[in-house]
Every structure is written in structure tokens, then in C-alpha cells.
């Protein structure tokens, strides 16, 4: 993947991650209930804390992607 791809991934993962991490559960529910993934997955109910963990993992993907952009730009120079 090139700089552009990593940058787009960083921004997209950052937006999704921030949404699940920082937006309150009630606000997500008012936008669309299906965004809460209130389902059973292999016998495990998806809870609020699981969505927060998902948000944190997306933010990690975002940070690492933007760091990769920095490294690629540095190498290019």
C-alpha cells in the first residue's frame, strides 16, 4: 500500500474508532439502532464495552497508519 492508501485508512479508521469510542451509547442509538450491534455472536452478547474495545482497536489502526504515512514520507525525502 502507498502513502495515499495508508492515509485514507488512517482517516477512515480514526473516524469509525472515534465514533464508537467517544459518542455516547444513547446518541448512537438515536442515529440508528443497528449501529449498536445488539446481537449474540457465538453465544456472546455484544455489550457496550465490546464496542468501546472495537473503537480503541480502530484508533490503534488509525495511529499506526498515520505513523506509517510519516515513515514513508520521511523515506521519500
Amino acid at each position: 500500500m502507498k502513502i495515499k492508501g495508508w492515509f485514507i485508512l488512517g482517516i477512515a479508521a480514526g473516524i469509525i474508532g472515534s465514533f464508537y469510542e467517544f459518542v455516547p451509547r444513547k446518541a448512537i442509538k438515536s442515529i440508528a439502532e443497528f449501529l449498536l450491534f445488539d446481537i449474540n455472536l457465538f453465544g456472546h452478547r455484544i455489550r457496550h464495552n465490546d464496542l468501546i474495545l472495537f473503537g480503541a482497536l480502530m484508533l490503534i489502526i488509525s495511529s499506526v497508519s498515520l505513523y506509517k504515512v510519516y515513515k514513508l514520507r520521511k523515506r521519500k525525502k
Binding site: 469510542e21 468501546i52 474495545l53 480503541a56 482497536l57 490503534i60 495511529s63 499506526v64 505513523y67
Partner: protein
């Protein structure tokens, strides 16, 4: 696939050592340790180190970045996640200053691994090896203890109360002594895998003798065996690649 496997092993070791240092600190200073938070901490740290190792590489700068991103994301998780323990009774590491503690522990874990792989000094490599082998085994041992409590049906608050420093003192001594003796044996006889054999048997004997728990001794044998296998595989492959 080989690169993926190697990076995964490296990340597993970094995450285990960091978490073991953290758990030992918490238990020694009276902060609560319980399975849910340890599982989240392991996941976040493992994922961060793996992402950086897989897509960027292994190095000093990468180590510092991983040490900042991992604990910071973990702090963010803590702030926004719902409580699973009664925080009026238990002291949980959710204050901001813990970010700096986690960062320092992560730096110790990452740079021990880096030094073990890259350092030219024999003493630094040996010291790093003892630290990695003993703390990674301690992490697995503590996870075993917490999972055992969960399987026995002990509720989270009781399990958090039962997790004290005295409970882990014998495993800590056993793994340290086993890793140390393992290194000495390797130096004396210079035979491949002899250190692993001595370390596994010795840790199992110490834990079995002092805890009188046969299953714990068997698991300690397995844990230190797994850790030694990961460390040796990791080093061999990195040396071959580099």
C-alpha cells in the same frame, strides 16, 4: 507467513512481559488485578505492538511509538468503558498518571526484547533474557490463576480480593530462579535445549513443593516451556532474517 508468525511471537512476548510487570506492580502496591482488565490490556498492547512490528518494523523509534500508543489507547478505553468492578471498594488503575507507569513498563518490556535480539553485549543479552523469560512465564501463571478462579465459579469481586502479592510470590521466585539456573547451565555445558529442560523442571519442582498443587506445577512446566520456545524461535528467525 513466516514474517507474520515471527512478528506475532515478538508481540506476544512484549505484551506478556509488559502485563506481568504491571500486574506485579499492582499486586505489590495493593491495586486490584482482575481478569477482565488484564484481558483488555493484553489485547490492546498485543494489537499495538503487532501492528507496528508487522507494518513498520522493529527498532528503537518503533518501540517508543508502540509504548506511547498502546498505554494511551488503554487509558482511553478505561475512561469510556463501563465499570466491571465496584470502584468504591477496589482501586483500579484508571487515573491519568498510570499512563506514565504503563509507558515505562512498556519501554522496559520492548527494549528488553530489542536488546536480547540486537545487543552485542553478552551481559545485556543475558539480563534481558532472564527478564523476558521470567516475566512472560509470570504473566501466563497469573492468567492461569485468574482463569482457574473464574472456572471455579468465584465472582469477580472475590477473585480480585483473593489476588494478592503473597499468592504470586512463590511463582515469581520459581520463574526467576529457573531462568537464572537455566542460563548458568547453558553457560556451563553449552548444550542446546539443556537450559529449557532445567528451567522447566526446576520451576515445576519449586512450585509443586511450596504450593502442594500438582496441576499448578504441571502448568508452570508448560508455561516456561512455551515461553522458552517462543524466545528461541523469535531470536533464531530474526537472526536468520537479519
Amino acid at each position: 507467513m513466516k514474517k507474520f508468525y515471527l512478528n506475532l511471537l515478538f508481540s506476544i512476548l512484549a505484551a506478556l512481559v509488559m502485563n506481568a510487570l504491571d500486574m506485579v506492580y499492582h499486586l505489590a502496591t495493593g491495586w486490584a488485578v482482575h481478569l477482565n482488565y488484564v484481558a483488555i490490556k493484553l489485547t490492546v498492547i498485543l494489537f499495538t505492538v503487532w501492528m507496528i512490528t508487522q507494518f513498520i518494523g522493529i527498532g528503537k523509534e518503533e518501540g517508543v511509538v508502540a509504548s506511547v500508543i498502546g498505554p494511551f489507547m488503554f487509558y482511553v478505553y478505561y475512561v469510556f468503558a463501563g465499570a466491571t468492578l465496584n470502584r468504591t471498594i477496589f482501586k483500579i488503575d484508571e487515573q491519568f498518571w498510570f499512563f506514565f507507569l504503563h509507558l515505562s513498563l512498556m519501554l522496559i518490556a520492548y527494549f528488553s526484547l530489542l536488546n536480547f535480539i540486537q545487543s552485542k553485549s553478552h551481559w545485556i543479552r543475558t539480563f534481558s533474557f532472564i527478564l523476558i523469560a521470567s516475566f512472560a512465564s509470570i504473566a501466563l501463571d497469573l492468567l492461569y490463576t485468574m482463569i482457574k478462579m473464574r472456572l471455579q465459579g468465584i465472582d469477580e469481586e472475590t477473585a480480585a480480593r483473593l489476588m494478592t502479592f503473597s499468592l504470586i510470590l512463590i511463582p515469581i521466585i520459581a520463574y526467576f530462579v529457573a531462568a537464572l539456573i537455566g542460563v548458568l547451565i547453558e553457560r556451563l555445558f553449552n548444550k542446546k535445549y539443556l537450559d529449557t529442560a532445567f528451567a522447566t523442571i526446576l520451576s515445576a519442582l519449586i512450585i509443586g513443593f511450596f504450593t502442594k498443587d500438582f496441576m499448578h506445577a504441571v502448568f508452570s512446566f508448560v508455561f516456561i516451556g512455551i515461553v522458552y520456545h517462543i524466545i528461541h524461535t523469535c531470536k533464531k528467525r530474526i537472526m536468520n532474517e537479519g
